[in-house]
């Protein structure tokens, strides 16, 4: 599936919820289901700055696809992170760099991307794109 197809699927899923509780229960559930990041990747370097809770992001190439793994100590953030992974992980750096993450607005989670110090989803997206750019550069120079 393309990045946009995955986004559209998420938007459809969220349309089923008519109140905030259902929506957040779903996000919490996603957080609980996200596999734990191995301790070896929970390093200082992998911490995304600007989050109120600690978020670790690990990235590596598998063939021509960029794979992300992540974790957080807060369950809602972990659920949101899980959604970002679902959308962006497993695509080429070029696709990730070009991605327009419209699903965040459409599922009503844009407040989590606000430029406040309390949440770092914006920093998370920025870091994922930075990885994509870094790996793209490495691939091009090979």
């Amino acid at each position: 599936m393309t990045i946009n197809e995955i986004q559209d699927e998420l938007i459809e899923e969220f349309e089923l919820f008519d109140d905030w509780e259902g929506k957040y229960e779903y996000i919490i559930d996603l957080g609980k289901k996200l596999p734990k990041l191995s301790d070896e990747y929970k390093t200082e370097d992998n911490i995304i700055k600007g989050c109120q809770s600690i978020v670790w992001l690990h990235a590596y190439m598998n063939g021509d696809k960029l794979i992300f793994e992540a974790d957080s100590e807060a369950i809602i953030v972990k659920g949101l992170v899980s959604m970002l992974l679902k959308v962006l992980s497993g695509h080429t750096p070029e696709e990730i760099l070009k991605a327009d993450l419209y699903f965040i607005n459409r599922v009503g989670l844009s407040s989590h991307l606000a430029q406040t110090r309390s949440n770092g989803l914006a920093s998370m997206v920025k870091q994922m794109k930075a990885y994509a750019l870094a790996f793209q550069t490495i691939e091009e120079n090979k």
């Binding site: 905030w20 509780e21 957040y24 229960e25 109120q52 809770s53 807060a74 809602i76 309390s118």
Partner: protein
């Protein structure tokens, strides 16, 4: 008996009438009535304060001190009247001992960069405490980097109180400055600052008290405390943001070099030499925050009219009720159980990150603070990443505390 008296005083306040003075309390958040429990971050502003701001801009906006026209004189009078009000509010001896600042942080930086740079030297020791806000840590660290002073830290016990025996051991002839918070923003602890000041003075050290969290709850008497410096912010006192004051003993302020250079703080400027203005203007370079300075007078008068003792009694009642109700929640632990506290409750819930508490309470219209509260060393002391903090002001009610309790139960149901 004391408790009965307190209750009598508290009931003298008509809370519903007070609430009507705060238009923001009618806001709906996520479709629900706002429950505002983030008062330690900033309090809401009553109508008289909002009107004072609008009235200044609408009717007598002018730059102060230099103009001779009517508006300038009116603005200057209102501006200086505010200084007088703050002098009375802190019970300072002289009006010129009140320096307007942008807030508590600004006041601490001013003292560190003027008194500190002029009078502290390599090897001198500065004592702070483990419960300081970053704004009472970093300015001193910057000073230490500049002139080789050494920072010493008073530890905190498990209840969130300063360990005074340890403080006394830290004091020596090397101690030149002590800078301690009056009331902890993260825990609510009221520190025995009068005793701390007295002990510091015994070794000849000067003292600054960070009153950011104290002024809306406690009666402040800088002469009785005998503090050398006292700083606070207006916005935690039902006043506007971007405005605060520094109290300093006159002889110290006179001996200190100026902080920022510019207009207003000068007596005469030539390219060869500038002579500085007298107190308090020496420390007030540039056009000040006129509107907000004027409005803080109204905020203090508002609080005075309610009666600070009445307010404190009512807030204590809320604190006691909230503590009792919150402790009924399984897995909830209150961080900071000092004997003397203001109406601030920091808590953690087993198995739930504070951020999740904050997000789900917000969905229910309840505003609390979550995180480290700009006191990372203190959080480290308790071995936690942060807390959720509910802090109460005079317009809060027991019904709102009940909503908080239900809200937390919902957090637990959803997350655990």
């Amino acid at each position: 008996m004391l408790v009965e008296n307190r209750t009598d005083k508290a009931t003298m306040l008509d809370i519903q009438k007070i609430r009507a003075d705060f238009p923001i309390l009618d806001e709906k958040i996520n479709g629900k009535d706002l429950v505002y429990f983030d008062n330690a971050a900033t309090t809401q502003k009553p109508l008289p304060v909002l009107n004072a701001l609008a009235n200044y801009y609408g009717h007598y906006n002018a730059n102060i001190h230099r103009g001779i026209h009517h508006l300038a004189e009116k603005a200057t009078s209102a501006f200086e009247a505010s200084r007088k009000t703050i002098q009375k509010f802190l019970n300072a001896r002289y009006t010129e001992e009140i320096i307007f600042t942008y807030g508590t942080t600004d006041g601490i930086n001013l003292v560190a960069q003027t008194y500190g740079r002029a009078f502290l030297k390599e090897g001198d020791e500065i004592i702070i405490s483990a419960m300081e806000h970053h704004s009472n840590i970093v300015p001193w660290q910057m000073l230490c980097e500049q002139n080789g002073c050494v920072l010493k830290v008073i530890p905190v016990n498990d209840d969130g109180e300063l360990i005074l025996e340890a403080y006394e051991k830290l004091l020596s002839g090397k101690t030149k400055f002590v800078s301690v918070v009056h009331v902890s923003n993260a825990l609510g602890t009221i520190n025995p600052v009068k005793y701390i000041i007295q002990k510091a003075h015994e070794v000849g050290a000067k003292v600054l008290i960070d009153g950011a969290q104290a002024t809306s709850h406690l009666t402040i008497d800088v002469q009785d405390l005998d503090t050398d410096f006292y700083v606070f912010s207006a916005h935690k006192l039902y006043g506007p943001t971007g405005m605060g004051a520094l109290y300093g003993k006159k002889e110290l302020l006179e001996a200190m070099p100026p902080y920022r250079g510019g207009g207003e703080m000068i007596k005469e400027v030539t390219f060869e030499k500038t002579t500085y203005n007298e107190l308090p203007y020496k420390f007030e370079a540039g056009t000040p925050n006129i509107a907000d300075v004027i409005a803080v007078k109204t905020a203090i008068e508002y609080l005075d009219e309610l009666g600070k003792e009445n307010v404190a009694a009512y807030e204590n009642e809320l604190l006691a009720y909230a503590t009792e109700q919150l402790l009924k929640i399984e897995g909830l632990k209150i961080i900071g159980q000092a004997k003397d506290k203001v109406s601030v409750i920091s808590f953690v819930i087993e198995g739930i990150h504070p951020q999740d508490v904050g997000v789900i309470l917000d969905q229910q219209g309840i505003a609390v603070r979550t995180g480290h509260h700009c006191t990372q060393p203190l959080m480290k002391r308790f071995g936690i990443p942060g807390t959720s903090r509910a802090s109460f002001a005079v317009y809060n009610t027991k019904e709102e505390i009940d909503k908080l309790v239900l809200g937390i139960e919902k957090v637990k149901k959803m997350v655990l």
